[in-house]
C-alpha cells in the first residue's frame, strides 16, 4: 500500500524537529510548502537525508531540503543521494562553507553525473601556477577551494570544473578564472573600502546580490585592463565568455575606459542594486570576499611597510653615519622602471631586492608608496609571532656531542655555546623504498648515470710531457726553434690524456622537519637515491646528513652517509628511514656540517641544502628575522672557510628571504615537489660543471 502524501503542516512539524537548530529556522514554513508537491517516496527521501545531514550540521540539512525538489528532478533518486553524500563528504574534509557551496552547485554535480569531461585542479595547477608567476612579480599561491576567489595572496580555484562539455574548454576556464583573480589583485579591486561600500546592503541576501554584481562589474573593468596590457589573454577571455550579459552593457563604456578604478565600479554597483535586477551567474568572474581580502591586504601592507622602514632605518648616510635629519632622505618611485629610488644626503643608495619587492608590492596595493612607509624605523624590531603551546621537555639523558654559537641579530653578537648538537645515525629501515624507487626510475637513473659519466669523461690533454700518446706540436715547434738558435731543445715533446681531477667534496643537508611530512619527505628520499646513483658514476666525495630539532638544547643531526661510508645497503637502509621529525633550526646544522666538510681534503667544497621552507624552531625566538639572520651568518662563516653553499627549495614564497640568505645565484626554487628527484641531480651537475 502506498502511503499518502504528507501535507504542509505535517511536513512543517517534522522539519521543525529535524532542523530546529538551523539559523534559517524561520523559513521552515516556506520549505514545507516546497516539499508538499513531492510524491511521498521523495518526501521520505528528503526528510531522511535532511535529518542525516542535520545531525552533522543543521544548515546542511536545511540546504539539502531546500535544493531537494530541483535536485530530485534533475538527478533522480540515486543521483540525489550521491549529491547529498558528496555534500557531507565535503563537510568532513573542508568544512561548512565548502559543503554549502558544493550543495548549491547543482549544475556542477549534474554535469559530472552526466559524464561531462571535467578538468581537475590538481592537473592544471602546476602549469597555471607558473603562468601566474610569469604574469606577476609578486608571488601568488594557488589552492583548491570551494569556489573561485582570492584573498590577494592565494588564488582559490574549484577542485574541478565541468562547465563545458570538453576537457580543454574547462581547462581554459580554469585559466580564465585564475587570470580574473590575478587581475583583481593586480588592478586594484581591493584598493577601496569594499566592506564599507557594501554596508548599505546589511541583510545577507542583499549583500550576496551586491557581491555578485560587484564581481560582474569588476570583471568588465578588469577585462579592459587585461585587454590593454595582454591582448592575447584578453582575446582568450572574450572568446570563452562570449558577449557581456545585456544587463552589464550600460556600464561597459565607462568601466572600460583607461583611468577607471574600483570606485567607478562601486558607483555602478549602487545603480544596479537600485534597479533590483537579479545578477547573472558568476561563472567567469569568480566571487569576492572583501573581508578576508582586506585582512590579508592589511597584514601585507603592515609587513611591507615594516620591511621598508626597517631597511631605511638601517641605511647609513654617504659618510657612513646615520643621516642627521629625517629630511636627508628622498625616496621616489621611478616612473619608467617602477623601482624605488632612495637617496640619502643627496647620494643615491641601492636597496636590497627584498626591500625593492616590498616597495613594489606597496605600490601595487596602494597605488603609491605611502609617506609613512618612507620614514625610517627606530630601533624597535619587528617580528611576526603566532606560535603557542608549552615548551618541550629539555632533559636529555646524555651530554651534547657538540655545542655551537648562534648569531643573535638583536645583540649583533654571538650567543656562546647556545645550541646543543646530538649526532646520531638514522635507525635503518628495510631498504624497500630505495629498491622501489630504483625500479620505478630505472630508465631515468640510466640516463642520469650516462650524463654524469660524460662530465667525468672530459679528460684533459696535458702537454709537454716526457712521454705520451701524441706529439705536442707547440712543444715541437719550440724545440725546433731552440735548436736552430743553438739552444738545447727540451725533450718534453708529448701530450698525454689525463683524467680530470675534480677534487670536490659535497655535503647534502636534508631538512627532516615536521613540515616535510608526506610528499616532501618522499621526494627528498627519492632525490637522495638518484643523487647517490649519479654521484657514484661521477666519483665525487659526498656525505648526506639530515637535521631537525626542538629548541636550542636539542639540535639533532642524523647521519645518513658520512664521507667515509660507501654507498651500500647500510646507506640505502638509512635513506629508507628518513622521516619527518620536528623543527628547522638551520644555523646550527649548517655550522656542524660545515665543520665536517671543512675537514675534507678537497679543493672545492660544496654544501647543498634540501629544504621546504624558511628556518624555524619551536617558540617565537628563532622564527622570522632571527632565524634568517642566524642562517645567513652561518652561511657566511662557511664561505669564509671556502665552502660554497646552494639551497634547493620548494618554497615558492621564499624569494624574499632566500636571496638574502644565500645570495642571488645560490638557490633554486622548484615549482613542484614531484620534480625534486629529477631536478636535484641535475642542479648538482650544473653547480659543478
Amino acid at each position: 500500500m502506498v502511503e499518502r502524501k504528507l501535507f504542509e503542516h505535517e511536513l512543517e512539524e517534522k522539519l521543525d524537529t529535524l532542523l530546529f537548530a538551523s539559523a534559517s529556522h524561520r523559513s521552515i514554513g516556506r520549505l514545507a510548502a516546497l516539499l508538499e508537491a513531492l510524491p511521498r517516496r521523495h518526501q521520505d527521501l528528503v526528510l531522511h537525508w535532511a535529518g542525516v545531514a542535520a545531525q552533522t550540521n543543521a544548515e546542511l540539512g536545511h540546504m539539502i531540503a531546500m535544493q531537494a525538489p530541483q535536485g530530485l528532478e534533475r538527478l533522480g533518486d540515486a543521483g540525489f543521494e550521491a549529491w547529498a553524500l558528496a555534500g557531507l563528504d565535503t563537510y568532513d574534509k573542508e568544512g561548512l562553507r565548502a559543503a554549502m557551496e558544493r550543495l548549491r552547485d547543482l549544475d556542477g554535480f549534474v554535469a559530472i553525473r552526466a559524464g561531462r569531461l571535467c578538468a581537475r585542479f590538481a592537473e592544471v595547477e602546476p602549469r597555471l601556477a607558473r603562468f601566474v608567476q610569469g604574469l606577476s612579480g609578486r608571488g601568488l599561491a594557488l589552492k583548491a577551494g570551494a569556489y573561485p576567489w582570492t584573498d590577494t595572496e592565494t588564488l582559490f580555484l574549484p577542485e574541478r570544473i565541468a562547465h563545458f562539455a570538453g576537457v580543454e574548454d574547462n581547462r581554459q576556464l580554469y585559466k580564465a578564472l585564475a587570470v580574473q583573480l590575478w587581475a583583481q589583485t593586480r588592478y586594484g579591486t581591493f584598493n577601496a573600502d569594499l566592506d564599507g561600500a557594501l554596508a548599505q546592503w546589511p541583510d545577507a541576501h542583499g549583500r550576496e546580490q551586491a557581491l555578485v554584481w560587484l564581481a560582474q562589474l569588476e570583471a568588465v573593468r578588469l577585462a579592459a585592463c587585461i585587454e590593454r596590457d595582454l591582448p592575447g589573454l584578453g582575446r582568450l577571455l572574450a572568446e570563452l565568455r562570449g558577449d557581456w550579459p545585456a544587463a552589464l552593457q550600460d556600464a561597459q563604456s565607462e568601466l572600460s575606459a583607461p583611468g577607471a578604478d574600483v570606485r567607478a565600479t562601486l558607483r555602478w554597483l549602487a545603480v544596479f542594486m537600485a534597479r533590483g535586477a537579479v545578477p547573472p551567474a558568476p561563472t567567469f568572474c569568480g566571487r569576492l570576499d572583501p573581508t578576508a581580502a582586506a585582512r590579508v591586504r592589511a597584514d601585507r601592507i603592515a609587513r611591507d611597510t615594516a620591511i621598508l622602514r626597517k631597511a631605511l632605518g638601517a641605511l647609513k648616510g654617504a659618510a657612513g653615519t646615520k643621516p642627521a635629519a629625517p629630511n636627508a632622505f628622498a625616496a621616489q618611485i621611478n616612473a619608467e622602471t617602477g623601482a624605488l629610488e632612495v637617496s640619502v644626503d643627496g647620494e643615491a643608495v641601492s636597496l636590497p631586492a627584498d626591500v625593492q619587492a616590498a616597495a613594489q608590492s606597496l605600490a601595487q596595493d596602494l597605488g603609491e608608496v605611502p609617506p609613512e612607509a618612507l620614514t625610517p624605523a627606530g630601533d624597535g624590531a619587528w617580528t611576526p609571532t603566532d606560535k603557542r603551546g608549552p615548551a618541550p621537555e629539555l632533559a636529555r639523558d646524555r651530554q651534547a656531542d657538540f655545542q655551537y654559537d648562534e648569531w643573535d641579530y638583536h645583540r649583533n653578537a654571538y650567543r656562546r655555546g647556545w645550541c646543543h648538537v646530538y649526532e646520531m645515525p638514522v635507525a635503518p629501515g628495510d631498504g624497500a623504498f630505495v629498491r622501489e624507487v630504483k625500479l620505478r626510475y630505472a630508465p631515468f637513473i640510466q640516463q642520469l648515470k650516462r650524463r654524469f659519466e660524460a662530465v667525468r669523461g672530459e679528460d684533459r690533454i696535458r702537454g709537454r710531457q716526457p712521454e705520451g700518446e701524441e706529439i705536442d706540436l707547440d712543444a715541437l715547434v719550440e724545440a725546433l726553434h731552440d735548436r736552430k738558435c743553438g739552444a738545447e731543445p727540451s725533450p718534453r715533446l708529448f701530450s698525454r690524456r689525463v683524467r680530470n681531477e675534480r677534487s670536490l667534496a659535497a655535503m647534502f643537508m636534508v631538512d627532516m622537519s615536521g613540515s616535510t611530512k608526506g610528499w616532501v619527505n618522499d621526494a627528498e628520499r627519492e632525490s637522495l637515491v638518484m643523487l647517490c646513483e649519479a654521484l657514484e658514476a661521477l666519483g665525487d666525495r659526498y656525505a648526506i646528513y639530515g637535521f631537525s630539532g626542538w629548541t636550542r638544547t636539542r639540535c639533532d643531526i642524523y647521519r645518513i652517509k658520512s664521507f667515509a661510508d660507501r654507498y651500500d645497503d647500510g646507506v640505502r637502509a638509512r635513506i629508507d628511514a628518513i622521516e619527518a621529525k620536528d623543527y628547522t633550526r638551520m644555523g646550527v646544522a649548517i655550522r656542524h656540517l660545515t665543520q665536517l666538510l671543512d675537514a675534507q681534503p678537497a679543493r672545492h667544497k660544496l654544501l647543498v641544502t634540501l629544504s621546504d621552507g624558511r628556518p624555524d624552531d619551536f617558540g617565537d625566538e628563532y622564527r622570522g628575522t632571527y632565524g634568517i639572520e642566524d642562517t645567513r651568518r652561518a652561511l657566511q662563516e662557511a664561505r669564509r672557510l671556502g665552502i660554497k653553499s646552494h639551497c634547493v627549495t620548494i618554497d615558492r614564497q621564499g624569494a624574499d628571504y632566500l636571496k638574502h640568505m644565500y645570495g642571488a645565484a645560490s638557490y633554486s626554487v622548484l615549482d613542484d615537489v614531484k620534480k625534486l628527484p629529477i631536478k636535484v641531480a641535475d642542479i648538482y651537475r650544473k653547480l659543478t660543471a
Binding site: 602546476p126 591582448p231 736552430k484
Partner: protein, 273 residues
C-alpha cells in the same frame, strides 16, 4: 707559403667603421671614458644578452681605438692569448696572440666571459691590470709595456651558478666594475624597435613578454629572456614572420628545453600578442 703572405689577425682588422647602435642607460659611458683616461681596467658584469659586448664595441668606436674581442672558453690557454711559434717552410715564425696584438697596437682587449677561461690565464692578465701595465711573453723573453691607449676589459655573468666558475677576488679587485642589467621597459622597447626595425607598439609587446619571462627566473628558468633574444624576435617580425611564431622561436624555445616550462612560455606568448 712563406712568412710574408701569412695573413694574421691584427687589431686594425677589428677597427670599427660605422657607429654601433648603443642606448645609454645610466652613467656607464662617462665612467668608461674616465677609466680609459686614467688607464684603469674595466670589469663588466651582468646577465647574458644585456648589451655588454655592444657597449664595448660602442666605446671602442667612441674612443677611436681598435678592439680585439676574445670569447673565452674552458680550453683557452695562456698561449692562445699571448701567441705561439708556427713552422712556415723550414723556419719557425712567432705569431702574436690576440692579447699581445692588442697590447702592441694600444687597442682595447675585451675578454668575454672570463670565468670560462683556464685559471692560468689570469697570470698574464694580472700584470696588465695593475700599475705595471706590461705583458710578459715568456717564450720570447720579451716584456711589452702597454701604451697609454691599451685597455683591458673583461666581462662575466654573476648569474651562473657553478661553484667552479667564480672570478677570484685577487682578479676582480684590480678592475673598475660596471654593473649591467636589462634596461627599463621604455628604453628596452626603444632598443628592440631600433634594432629590429619594427614599430613601437610591437616592440612594447615584445618587451612585455621579456618581463613576464623574467618573472620566472629562479622558478624554473635559469634566466629570463635577454634583450638580445627580444631583438632576435623583433628582427624575425621585421622579416615578415607572425609575432607569435617569431616570439615562440626566438624567445620561448630559446630559453628552455623543459617541456613544462615550454608550455608556460607558450602560454605567455599567447597572452601577450
Amino acid at each position: 707559403m712563406t712568412a710574408a703572405n701569412l695573413r694574421t689577425i691584427t687589431p686594425e682588422l677589428e677597427s670599427l667603421g660605422a657607429e654601433p647602435y648603443y642606448q645609454t642607460v645610466a652613467d656607464e659611458v662617462a665612467l668608461f671614458e674616465a677609466a680609459a683616461t686614467k688607464r684603469l681596467p674595466v670589469l663588466l658584469k651582468g646577465p647574458t644578452g644585456c648589451g655588454k659586448t655592444r657597449f664595448v664595441e660602442y666605446m671602442a668606436w667612441k674612443l677611436g681605438r681598435p678592439l680585439v674581442t676574445v670569447a673565452c672558453h674552458d680550453d683557452l690557454t695562456t698561449a692562445d692569448l699571448v701567441g705561439r711559434y708556427l713552422i712556415v717552410g723550414d723556419e719557425t715564425v712567432w705569431l702574436d696572440g690576440p692579447l699581445t696584438a692588442a697590447v702592441r697596437a694600444g687597442a682595447i682587449c675585451y675578454l668575454d666571459e672570463i670565468v670560462e677561461a683556464r685559471k692560468d690565464t689570469t697570470v698574464v692578465i694580472h700584470p696588465l691590470a695593475d700599475t705595471r701595465r706590461a705583458l710578459a711573453v715568456d717564450k720570447r723573453g720579451e716584456l711589452i709595456p702597454a701604451p697609454p691607449s691599451f685597455m683591458l676589459v673583461i666581462s662575466y655573468n654573476p648569474g651562473y651558478q657553478s661553484v667552479l666558475k667564480e672570478i677570484k677576488p685577487s682578479t676582480r679587485q684590480r678592475f673598475v666594475a660596471l654593473e649591467f642589467d636589462y634596461p627599463g621597459a621604455e628604453v628596452e622597447a626603444q632598443i628592440v624597435a631600433t634594432e629590429g626595425g619594427i614599430d613601437a607598439a610591437m616592440a612594447k609587446k615584445l618587451v612585455r613578454l621579456g618581463e613576464l619571462t623574467r618573472n620566472l627566473k629562479g622558478a624554473g628558468l635559469d634566466e629570463g629572456a635577454s634583450t638580445r633574444l627580444l631583438v632576435h624576435a623583433a628582427q624575425l617580425v621585421g622579416a615578415g614572420m607572425a609575432p607569435t611564431v617569431a616570439a615562440t622561436a626566438a624567445v620561448a624555445r630559446a630559453l628552455t628545453d623543459d617541456p613544462d616550462m615550454t608550455q608556460t612560455l607558450d602560454d605567455l606568448v599567447r597572452a601577450v600578442f
